[in-house]
């Protein structure tokens, strides 16, 4: 774990060595705010709630997370540093975990920087806001983000082109989002549609967002993480 943390620290600092991290964070916060306050207008809805904020997150992540993760393996391949990295006495697992923690750390930082939003909701509310769904929403957003990061990291490990990694990452995440959308699930025969819905990231996120932490949802996210991190290790070893 300590070896993974060393990698994570190094990777996290790398984000801030170029203007990429500030620009990505700026874009994420700007669009999150824009969608929440203006689409539709926050005040015309008449309710002081963060539901709208969390409802947009899976779609916002679709661009934001692949943009963070696309370079993590693809760049190493392109520049040729992957050989050096893999020859270090760290083990592929620790390297994959380290890269995952770095990208997840940036995502967590982005979420942390949205703290003015709940404060604004509380300020504009006529009576006390229930903190449960907000806490649940943030926990769900972290779990959802972790699953996205694992998938996009795996996508990055498959190619040396950042653009291709980005496209594969978006496609993979989009698949796990869209299978939970009602009209899509209904296209499939009964049973299969329900199974697909159960596998959807958004469906599980909606459960946690209500403020209910269910072990089934936690297990789902943990198994998604495990699977895609293992696939990532396999993809790294493959080459």
């Amino acid at each position: 774990m300590s070896r993974a943390l060393v990698i994570a620290g190094k990777e996290f600092r790398t984000f801030f060595k170029t203007p990429v991290a500030p620009i990505v964070l700026f874009a994420f916060l700007l669009f999150a705010g824009l969608l929440f306050f203006f689409v539709p207008d926050y005040f015309t809805q008449g309710q002081a709630s963060m539901r709208g904020f969390f409802a947009y997150l899976p779609w916002l992540y679709l661009i934001f997370v692949p943009a963070i993760a696309m370079k993590m393996w693809a760049e190493e391949r392109k520049v040729g540093t992957i050989e050096t990295l893999l020859t270090l006495p760290l083990g592929e697992g620790a390297i994959v975990l380290g890269k995952f923690l770095a990208a997840f750390g940036l995502l967590a930082a982005a979420l942390l920087l949205t703290f003015p939003v709940p404060l604004i909701v509380a300020f504009t509310a006529a009576s006390a806001v229930d903190p449960g769904p907000i806490a649940g929403g943030y926990l769900g957003a972290l779990l959802l983000g972790a699953a996205y990061v694992a998938m996009c990291l795996f996508a990055s490990a498959l190619t040396r082109s950042q653009i291709v990694a980005f496209i594969i990452g978006v496609g993979l995440c989009f698949f796990f989002v869209v299978i939970g959308v009602e009209p899509v699930a209904n296209v499939f025969p009964q049973g299969l549609g329900e199974l697909l819905k159960g596998l959807s990231l958004v469906h599980r996120f909606a459960n946690i967002q209500r403020g209910v932490i269910d072990t089934r949802d936690l297990l789902y996210y943990l198994s998604m993480l495990t699977v895609f991190l293992l696939l990532n290790v396999a993809a790294v070893k493959r080459r």
Partner: protein, 589 residues
Amino acid sequence: MTTAPQRRRRSFALCVLLVAANLVLLNWIALGRFTRVDLTRDRLFTLHGATRELLAGLDDLVTMRVFMSEKKFREQAAYASIPREIHDLLDEYAARARGKLLVEYLDPSDDSERRLEASTAGLHERTLQGFGAESLVVFTCYLGIVLSYGGKPDQVVEISYPPETLEYALDLAIARLTQREMITIGFNSIRPRAGAAARAYGAEGFDEHDLEGDYQTVKQNLARQFEVERVVLDREVPAHIDLLVVHNVQHLNDQAQFYLDQYLMHGGKLVVLAEGIERNRQLSVLAARPALPDALFARYGFTIKRNLVLDQQCAPSGQGLPLYFIPELIESHFDPESALMSGLKSFYLVEASAIELNPPGGVDALVLARTTPGAWAQEGFFDTDARTLKPPARLDEYRQLDMVGLLYGEFTSFYSDRALPEGVTTSDRGPTRADFERQGLSLEEGEGEEVAEEEQGEEPAQAPPEDPEEPEAEPPGAASVPFIREKSPPTTIVVIGNSRFLCNDFLRSVPANLQFFWTLVDRLTVGSRLSEVRNRSAAPPSIRADLSPADKRLVKYGGMLGMPLVVLVLGMLLLVLRRARNVTVQVER
């Protein structure tokens, strides 16, 4: 011969398959065994404490027959989760009831006997809309629960979708089945009267607010938990009335006031719904009410003001309420200590007047709900034209106004120091010791015990409910009131400066108004916590009304641009500093 890269690809594919299988297997196992942590403030997704108490208190077996077309629901993705949700909830019910609840699942879809059983119990097939492979499909199904207990008539609960209110509906049905005595809520009624006055207030032959007319929704809902009946105040209020709602106040004549007074003096609980203004339906304008029993109300310690209360914290568009600053009373201005208001978030009063509490000695007063400080009151001339109405320009016109109040204590009769109205009669329920003492009489042997018992709150034998429409035979022993009660035992009056908020139109669009009133009735009578189950709501609070357009713009643009700009500036600053340091290091080298 396979090459090394081919072998690697195969093993990679195998690895992918294995982990995918692992994913599916793990989640399938977890479906049956799970725990949940409910983070919501009111524990919205957990069985409520009141439900657990109710189930723990069952003394005999309750049977639930669940008529549910499970097969059909499982075929429809949109409804596929219903059976699981209902099974989860009822499993929890059965576990809490410790053997006193038997749940039986019946699918009548392909079974004519089951269909007959369902329709005999009062459950009928319903039609729902779902998605087919290519188009919308309509299908019929059964979704309801029949509850049986002892020899009592079955209770039927139709399950709505999504089944969010099922817990409360089941609790009500169980409470109704298992309670020993039915609570009766009376709504006062004036006799239909002819003439211009009646025409001004509504269709001739109806009260201003009528249980069969504009109060039908509140009646239907309360009837799920209580007996509800009209009480005409031209005679004594029947002894089985546990709570009297006085909502037709405009023509309470002397006789009606006397019977109301004596009902209170016998320990009856009152809820007064009255505003000091009235809408003339022909002219569609508001005017101050000339005929309110002000002296009677003043004796009990409250006054209904002749004003129209408006508030900047008001109904937004789309709520189905008139758009002229209809006050929204919100949680932060409720009395935090009162159990009567706990769990409530907000409600609206439509064309309401402020109240004033001036409790007499021996009576405590409590304001249960106030407007926000952004409220004002119109007096004399009432303008409700949404096109022209504006909040007052002068700041000193804004003030917090009392809208709902509670008086508790021993009230003195309005007739303790004045002549009784002509023609009033009461059945002799027996005088209290205080009555004797007040009138300088001594008790005969044995009489005192009866009186003492009565003073401890024991009601005399209840007369069977009477039909208020039928003229009543003169009760034996009825005389020209040998004793009137001059002092009440400790009892409660709740005053609300509005009666229109309970009308059908508003209850349909604002369920919170029904929640408020139902909670009030529930807690004044049964004192149960069941209303807490109903009041649990995932609805978020409304937006503050005192924010100016400039404030709103600041909030929106500040919220959108503030943090991104801070991050961008700090990020760039960090980069510049880093580069400057690198340049310095290179120069030093």
